[in-house]
Subunit: 281 residues, 2 copies
């Protein structure tokens, strides 16, 4: 595995592979890798000749009051995990390599970026779209892998790829959960024992909603209120939003028809967590 810190070397290395007609799969991450990331890397490994992974805690997607500084950076462990997973190129750039002095260009997917998580995290998805577009241009992957855990991010990146005619295929892999049902997240390490216990209300509420939908309940308002009731029983959990939306454009639905996504964000202590579940009727 080559660890690459320079943009130019990353592009050169990948172009040499593409010149030899090898397919390139790419998994962009912020590091602190867990089984969710590893499931993407394994899928990329299965699908492609060459696998590139990036580790970059992207300052542009953190708000001024968010956890940029304390975001976990267990670099040696991440490197070892990538090596074991058969990664060919680990792109691990410094911040000034990605945002050099005088940087001024941003990509915005309007509308989609101000809904759900975007209501609280102003500028977050602008930072995401910008860095993802940059990494697409640097790594030139044939296929890129994202986790369904970051549902809104996936919708926004798919829209950007289509709108800007970006030559890349997107594959989305399912959420990986702990035995307890909690969705894996690099931020789970912020949780203390009590907080962790409280988070169990989240998968419990999503699962109940799914059962109710299978049982015939279609009304979003009633479903949302049932979800909130379960989560609100936990004093340590504060709901940011619970929404049921169309899977392709985040439009809220009143009645569940076809494929929808129940998406939610909560704060547990100081830790913000998101989760979602695809449902259909």
């Amino acid at each position: 595995m080559k660890i690459i810190r320079s943009v130019n070397l990353m592009t050169k290395s990948v172009l040499a592979q593409k010149a030899a007609r090898r397919s390139v799969g790419f998994v962009p991450t912020m590091g602190a890798l867990h089984e969710g990331h590893l499931s993407l890397i394994r899928k990329a490994r299965l699908d492609n000749d060459i696998v590139a992974v990036s580790i970059f805690v992207n300052p542009a997607q953190f708000g001024p009051k968010e956890d940029l500084k304390k975001y976990p950076r267990p670099v040696n462990k991440d490197i070892s995990l990538c090596r074991k997973a058969g990664v060919d190129f680990l792109f691990y750039p410094r911040s000034q390599e990605i945002y050099p002095e005088g940087f001024k260009t941003y990509v915005t997917v309007e509308g989609l970026s101000s809904l759900l998580c975007g209501r609280i995290r102003a500028g977050h998805f602008r930072g995401v779209a910008t860095v993802v577009l940059k990494f697409f241009n640097i790594v030139r992957p044939d296929t890129v892998y994202f986790g369904q855990k970051d549902f809104q991010q996936v919708v926004i990146i798919k829209r950007m790829v289509s709108d800007l005619n970006i030559p890349v295929k997107i594959k989305v892999m399912p959420i990986i959960r702990e035995g307890t049902g909690l969705a894996l997240s690099s931020r789970n390490i912020y949780l203390n024992k009590e907080e962790k216990k409280a988070t169990l209300a989240i998968p419990k509420a999503l699962n109940l909603a799914n059962i109710l939908i299978k049982g015939g309940l279609r009304d979003s308002k009633r479903l949302i209120s049932r979800i909130k009731m379960i989560i609100e029983k936990e004093k340590k959990v504060r709901i940011d939003y619970v929404a049921i939306v169309k899977e392709d454009d985040l439009t809220p639905v009143n009645k569940i028809t076809g494929k929808c996504v129940i998406a939610l964000a909560v704060c547990v202590g100081k830790t913000r967590l998101i989760d979602n579940m695809a449902v259909k009727a």
Copy 2:
């Protein structure tokens, strides 16, 4: 020459050429081609195996009160000029091919886009940056050709290409002028005889400034006031701005040192014209 109206076919056609290791030069235009455009096409022809030209009057770069509807579209003449100039691919897409329903993604080069022309033309450079990035992804050129006439546009696109790691080389070709000194522009056809005569003050003022600089005058304020004096003698010409700025980041300079650009915009009747001159001390 192939005339191509579909995005997919355009990309396919160019990729076939690139697979055969032919270099691709690209000249994006809004049509109404004049000698300025043709100088870019000729240079692209000289430098590359394959030349692609686009003709697309980009709605995203026109303000609600601007001349989108009446912008000249002499398509048959343009086609014939491209054919004569040895163009291989003429990309001439319909608007809904470029901005399909649900389009939401825009590229903004912050700071640079709100200066000079951007002060009056809000959103203009956002529209330019967005369509240019799209066309880069559709046409995949090795080298793209722009005219120095659109100086601010060139600065913004260079910044975008660098910031977003876009794999394209940019070449900028000099302004082409009529015998009278007026810079060629597709909008010159809006001018009546009297207005056209009045525009001569523009190159006259720029030339005088250049002479003054060569004679030792370095103070921007005094130079700008001399330029304005000459232009303001023409009753039909209303000055939008006259500025002396750094050539790479549009920062205004107080004293001319090194390479600078005198940039200006005026209205002659209802027609908005821009011009500029590179100067150095």
